[in-house]
Symmetry: C2
């Protein structure tokens, strides 16, 4: 009977993540939140983010840049990662329903979910292409 007790820090983490359309890391979120809570601890951010993931209120994913990213949108959707600037954007296509069915023919176990990451060069970086 572990009751979850309210904390304003966790609340601010949720609202802060909700308000962002990028997919911040724990450290980026920590920086943002410190504007309102100057002495919040990085450990508190990490612990609450992982707690919220366990509760299913947010999502955590890694796209290959070495750090975990967090997403307030828990609905199944895909991401596009820019190889130049690292920006992560949602891909508003509907998840391919048949992908898991197709895959299930080739593996022994049960498939519960899947993720898709597209990699390339984002529009902004294409404009500044002269820089590369």
């Amino acid at each position: 009977m572990k009751t979850l007790k309210y904390s304003r820090q966790r609340e601010s983490i949720k609202t802060c993540l909700m308000g962002r359309k990028d997919h911040p890391t724990a450290d980026a979120l920590y920086t943002s939140i410190r504007e309102q809570f100057p002495n919040i601890s990085l450990g508190t951010v990490y612990r609450n983010l992982n707690l919220l993931v366990e509760l299913g209120e947010i999502r955590k994913f890694s796209c290959g840049d070495g750090t975990d990213h967090f997403d307030y949108d828990t609905s199944p959707h895909y991401h596009f990662v820019c190889r130049h600037c690292g920006k992560i954007t949602d891909v508003p296509m509907n998840a391919a329903a048949d992908l898991e069915d197709d895959a299930s023919h080739f593996i022994e176990g049960n498939i519960e979910s899947h993720t898709v990451f597209f990699y390339g060069c984002c529009g902004d970086c294409l404009k500044n292409q002269t820089l590369y």
Copy 2:
């Protein structure tokens, strides 16, 4: 005119990775290789793995368990990750050719590649289900 000099350490890293059908981490590979090269350095393993990735001879990916994994198979293919034991297996379905086309309608930039990870419970862990 940066000439790549031969090293038996790098050679052993390649052949070791080639001989494995799992998708080892740098540290797992380090452990294996030390049987033949007892005093190879972990830094050497990391440096050469990243070099081989740059050369396009191997692939690096992260599946969400916090560490990078390496794959000798550079052809586009998908992976299945067991949430219980962490085992990563290839999914021998052919990559969905239309996925990138579909996604391209929803984003500004250029898509160069994509990855798909399926998550679930592998066959071995399903058998031992009583353990959970």
